[in-house]
Amino acid sequence: MLCLGFAFLYIPMFLLIFYSFNASRFVPVWGGFSIKWYITLFQSEEVWNAVILSLEIAIMNATFATLLGAMAGIAMARIRRFRGRVLFSGMISAPLVMPEVITGLSLLLLFITMSELIGWPTRGITTITIAHITFSLAYVAVIVQSRLVGIDESLEEAAQDLGARPYRVLIDITVPLIAPALVAGWLLAFTLSLDDLVIASFVSGPGSNTLPMLIYSRVKLGLKPDVNALATIIILIVTIGVIIAGWILSRQEKQRLLDQQMADSEKYDFSESIR
């Protein structure tokens, strides 16, 4: 069952990769090995523009969403009472399950109203980034919150007790402790942004085509081998990234276990030295 499940998850992806090396223009028909679709891809200015735009948006989104999401997560985990806490927690968890069409539609209506009233923002990279930050920050907030819930609050109290003012506690203790959650949140926000089609389609303006929007417009016209080539590159990058991340994590875990065992074995040695 496990194998079947994973076959279901992975066979479509392998086929994507397989057909990216197909010489034939018609995807399901094998016409011999070729890398010409990669060359077409790299020569297309349209693709490059879309990639650059998407990366710009993804980096800005990830950075701001991590900042705002971390604040929201800290607020949820560490501040027990403030006005409108229920509404706040609702607004953090709602974007996680909100259908994209609704988020896209409502944000577009807001942007149009705003630009009528104050002449800002113009539709394009700004509006897409704002829209992405809005739903990404909710994901970051949830990650940060669940990390903080697992951290003993007395660590922050101890710092205060030792004379650290609240902002120093934040900088010296809270931020280093949630650093792994911040990294995970940044990466998640980054991929969420790169992956989004629907919301970007709603709020983008003329001329600003993100990579998913470009892929979508091509795919709508049928199977395209250069899209397969693009997919192969993305899968490759992600796989390498995930393997490296997994390797680093498991190494840290092993080191931690080793240290722990060493410390425990010394437990009684120390009392011996006192006598």
Binding site: D152, E157, D172
Partner: protein, 386 residues
């Protein structure tokens, strides 16, 4: 250590008995409520300089809340706290002259031992060289110098406890608050650490306030103990006071164990009181007087180790402070044995007896179903009205 005044001498005159002595920590009518729950209910407390004071009680008795109010983590609902003559109201935790050792130790996992201990000094903008010096000094006292570059997860439980202690002491606080300082250690380490804690306190002369649920720990460590129950103090006194002269049923039962009897005062003389138990043929003669009316209902507490057990049962027994019974059960604990004696009125009394000889054939002082005589000195029964 310049402050290493001889604290044992300081307490020979017992400042708490001197009405003119100025308390170091002064708590007045302190109350803390959480919604409808009252955690601490209008308590008054004086703690003197150099004391090792314990707050003892079960979980939820309000001892931790009291400690957290001293540290500044909880704001009192009403009442005042002053330390060394300064009112602590509106002073945030990071400006109070107290430091706290947390139950979980709360060591910063991303900092080394050295960085952990030096953190508080860094917050006070102490010069770098001086920080290094003072950290090295305190690490030497807790014997952790070789471990200064390790991170908390590379230390054993006992070592972590020392780092936490060093970290909270390095700023030379006026008062050190310790929340269950030994609870996370295993039994063997705990007993040893108790004495080390006392030595360090003695050496530095800092006032310690310890929260604990472990009565043995409180008895060993403290100059005085406050027994807490339901947000109030049941009794405040030296370990001997608390054990030998408990003032309430709660304290008598909570500290050590006690056989409890309900009774009635039948005679109140100048230097003695006689109480007749409502369980039947059992009377207590107490050799000191109480201000109490005759014929009033009271309780008598009798410690199991204060009772003498004998297999020789005479025909007629004394009128007071003796009773006959049958051995119902025996528990052998190695250093002593517990005998559970069934009285004629179906009440069971626990008696402990040290196992001074090494029995081989006769295993116990008395055997199951033996008839025995219990007796005690007239100074032993504790009369309780609350």
């Amino acid at each position: 250590m310049t402050q290493a005044t001889d604290t044992s001498k300081l307490f020979e005159n017992q400042p708490w008995l001197d009405p003119d002595a100025e308390p170091f920590v002064k708590i007045r009518a302190l109350t803390k409520t959480f919604g409808s729950f009252t955690a601490v209910s209008s308590v008054d407390l004086d703690i003197y300089e150099g004391e090792l004071f314990s707050l003892l009680g079960g979980s939820g008795c309000g001892k931790t809340t009291l400690l957290r109010m001293l540290a500044g983590f909880e704001e009192p609902s009403s009442g005042t706290i002053s330390i060394d003559g300064v009112d602590m109201a509106n002073i945030p935790p990071y400006q109070r002259p107290v430091n706290m050792m947390f139950q979980s130790y709360a060591l910063f996992p991303h900092m080394t031992v050295e960085q952990n201990v030096g953190y508080g000094l860094k917050q006070d903008r102490v010069e770098k060289n001086e920080i290094a010096e003072r950290v090295a000094e305190i690490l030497a006292i807790v014997e952790l110098t070789p471990f200064n570059k390790r991170k908390p997860h590379q230390l054993s439980g006992g070592q972590r406890q020392r780092v936490a202690l060093a970290r909270s002491l390095v700023k030379k606080p006026k008062v050190l608050l310790l929340d269950e300082p030994l609870a996370a250690l295993d039994k063997r380490l705990r007993e040893q650490t108790q004495f080390e804690l006392m030595n360090i306190q003695h050496q530095l002369g800092v006032t310690f306030i310890v929260v604990t649920h472990d009565q043995e720990e409180a008895m060993t460590l403290s100059t005085r103990i406050a027994v807490m129950d339901q947000g109030q103090f049941s009794q405040i006194g030296t370990p001997t006071d608390i054990y030998e002269y408990p003032q309430t049923r709660f304290v008598a039962n909570f500290i050590g164990s006690a056989n409890m009897f309900e009774g009635r005062v039948v005679e109140n003389g100048d230097n003695h009181v006689i109480v007749r138990s409502s369980h039947g043929d059992l009377s207590f003669y107490i050799d000191h007087s109480f201000e109490i009316r005759e014929n009033i209902g009271v309780s008598i507490a009798l410690r199991p180790e204060k009772i003498t057990l004998s297999r020789e049962v005479p025909e007629t027994i004394d009128e007071y402070n003796t009773v006959k019974g049958i051995v119902d059960d025996i528990g052998y604990l190695g250093n002593f044995s517990i005998y559970r004696i069934l009285l004629e009125n179906d009440k069971i009394i626990a008696v402990t007896h040290p196992n001074q000889s090494r029995p081989r054939d006769a295993r116990h002082l008395a055997e199951w179903d033996d008839e025995v005589l219990l007796s005690w000195a007239p100074s032993s029964p504790i009369l309780l009205t609350k």
